[in-house]
């Protein structure tokens, strides 16, 4: 079996948002939404710091779909539009989605975006990966782990464009892969571990 996953090294991440923009461009994500967004943890302002001077910390968390092994969004979808594919990714069948948005309520990571209107692109015409299908009004979308590009043998766009090499993509079911080795490190953690969603995306803190 294959279990594709993403490791994000928070020690290397500089919060530059290049992954967010690369993802947006490649995946034809319309205006007003992002599948991947880097948040400055616990802060009201981007690039701010937590704590009281001089004991300050700053942590960037690149948030996108965590491709949970125990995915709440998949369980609650009434029409099975959200499914796990043969490579262990959580994907959405846009033709099935009825736009009830129960998956958005079920996702602990706010990873999902809804097409509230027909997608607006600026600039027009549409940019991005030739194989990525644009979505329509009334469906939910989210990170696909760049299924089109990776199925062609390329890396996900966020991994390709990361200037600080903070992201590693690979197969967790291959014990010798780089990502499996990283997953065994002591500093590998999951977001919201206590919810038991067992994300395939993990962070090196």
């Amino acid at each position: 079996m294959t279990k594709l996953a993403l490791a994000i090294d928070t020690e290397r991440c500089t919060g530059c948002q290049t992954c967010s923009i690369g993802c947006k461009t490649s995946n034809k994500i319309p205006m007003n939404m992002y599948w991947s967004r880097t948040i400055t943890q616990g802060c009201d302002y981007e690039d701010a710091a937590e704590g009281v001077y001089p004991n300050l910390t700053k942590t960037f968390i690149s948030m996108s779909c965590q491709h949970c092994t125990n995915a709440p969004c998949q369980r609650v979808c009434p029409v099975g539009a959200t499914y796990r594919d043969d490579k262990g990714r959580i994907e959405i069948d846009y033709d099935k989605c009825i736009g009830c948005r129960i998956c958005m309520a079920a996702c602990p990571y706010n990873a999902r975006c809804f097409n509230w209107n027909d997608p607006v692109y600026d600039p027009d015409p549409i940019y991005g990966d030739v194989d990525v299908k644009p979505r329509t009004k009334g469906v939910v979308e989210k990170c696909t782990l760049c299924r089109e590009a990776t199925d062609r043998g390329e890396l996900p766009m966020c991994v390709r464009v990361c200037p600080s090499h903070a992201r590693v993509w690979g197969d967790l079911d291959d014990p010798n892969s780089e990502i499996s080795q990283l997953a065994r490190e002591a500093r590998a953690v999951h977001l919201m571990e206590e919810d038991g969603t067992e994300p395939q995306v993990f962070y090196l803190m």
């Binding site: 967004r37 009434p78 029409v79 033709d95 009825i98």
Partner: protein, 403 residues
């Protein structure tokens, strides 16, 4: 029986509001849900609050009506017909609100083509459909065979558990979501059922008083007092359950628990929380706990209106408090997604959930409620007939067996 001039004016106004609602819905269908105030941060809004509210209103009426048959509470049988009319109309409205909320209503048949039975929403689709069918069968049997008939008593044995289930399943849509700490509670289903009982009884009492005033139905003062007493008990249980939930959430002072309690008691959803506690629980309880007050129809109707308003407020705080705080918090937050929603700094990000219904949403909701009122009026006129017939359908003894 003809409507009075006043009645005709009321009908005209309701029809006009309903027409506006339908027009607003068509506008929403063309523009997409971007005409609402919902966003990626607060992805459910007024429509889902109304859905929860109406499922409750519906279940309450049917619980009374079917208990009458199952437990042989003879006096409740008298109001079984109006109770089921209210129940049928409310559940239809609830289903309509779900359809209005769907982004891809044209793909709604996928519910039949590729159902996923692990979804509580799928359970709700099934149980609401069964419930609606049972309501209609109930109405037909009651008109055809009479309220004391064997047929009615059989259908009521299915209707009562379904009525309890329909609101429990609605509660599970929220209660089973691990992502939202404010919802993820085992008390959600019993809390919803008891809210259904008190708000449903409240609406039933209001409708009975209105029917009485319109001289379409007679109902004795003792029966009203009795139903008001039952409502009072349910209000007390409702208040108790809310207290249990709030205490459990607050006691351990966890980060998310404290945030939720802060918003609910003192923050964004506090007006709704306190309206529910004061207007929805304390005021009606203090009025109806005295037997003397239960005999005064004006006070009973006032208390009923308080309960119904309070339960609506409860739907609002229950739904929205859990949308306010994002589990993984930090700037820039969640991308709003809906271009028409403007957040504090005017940008496309939200660090704390924020929602305000738009005019389109308000007009659609007003239209749906007007349509519901019209449906109750029409069905009452059609099914209740003349008042003497209604009172005659409540025989004193065994005369009606097999009527």
């Amino acid at each position: 029986m003809n409507f009075t001039a006043k009645g005709k004016a009321a009908l005209g106004i309701l029809a006009a509001i309903a027409a506006c609602g339908v027009a607003a819905w068509i506008y929403q269908l063309t523009g997409g849900l971007s005409v609402t105030g919902m966003s990626n941060g607060v992805s459910w809004g007024l429509y889902i609050a109304c859905f929860m509210f109406l499922v409750g209103l519906s279940a309450g009426g049917l619980i009374v009506a079917s208990s009458a048959s199952i437990f042989h509470v003879r006096q409740y049988k008298q109001v079984a017909l109006p109770a089921i009319i209210v129940s049928t109309v409310c559940i239809t409205m609830a289903a309509m609100f779900v359809c209005i909320d769907l982004g891809g209503v044209q793909r709604v048949l996928n519910l039949l083509l590729s159902p996923n039975f692990t979804s509580p929403l799928m359970w709700d689709v099934c149980v609401i459909s069964i419930y609606l069918i049972l309501n209609i069968i109930y109405l037909v049997f009651m008109k055809k065979y009479g309220v004391d008939s064997h047929q009615v008593s059989i259908v009521s044995r299915f209707a009562l558990p379904t009525a309890i289930l329909v609101h429990s399943v609605t509660a599970w849509i929220f209660g089973l979501e691990i992502a939202k700490e404010g919802w993820n509670s085992a008390i959600m289903a019993p809390l919803f059922v008891v809210s259904a009982m008190d708000s449903g009884l409240g609406l039933l009492l209001i409708v009975l008083a209105a029917l009485k005033k319109a001289k379409m139905f007679t109902v004795g003062r003792d029966l009203m007092a009795n139903l008001a007493g039952l409502m009072c008990t349910c209000v007390a249980i409702d208040g108790f359950m809310v207290f249990c939930e709030v205490l459990t959430e607050a006691y351990n002072g966890t980060a998310m628990g404290s945030a939720i309690i802060g918003d609910m008691l003192f923050g964004a959803t506090a007006p709704f929380f306190w309206t529910e506690i004061v207007l929805g629980v304390l005021v009606p309880f203090c009025i109806l706990v005295f037997a003397k007050n239960r005999k005064r129809e004006g006070l009973v109707v006032f208390a009923s209106a308080c309960v119904v308003t309070g339960v609506f407020c409860k739907r609002v705080w229950l739904l929205f408090t859990s949308f306010l705080n994002f589990n993984v918090a930090g700037a820039p937050g969640v991308s709003i997604g809906n271009a028409n929603v403007v957040y504090a700094d005017g940008g496309m990000w939200m660090t704390i959930g924020s929602y305000l219904p738009t005019w389109t949403e308000l007009v659609i909701v007003a239209g749906m409620f007007a349509l519901g009122a019209l449906a109750i009026m029409a069905m009452s006129k059609l099914l209740l007939g003349k008042p003497d017939v209604a009172s005659a359908s409540v025989p004193d003894g065994a005369a009606a067996q097999g009527a």
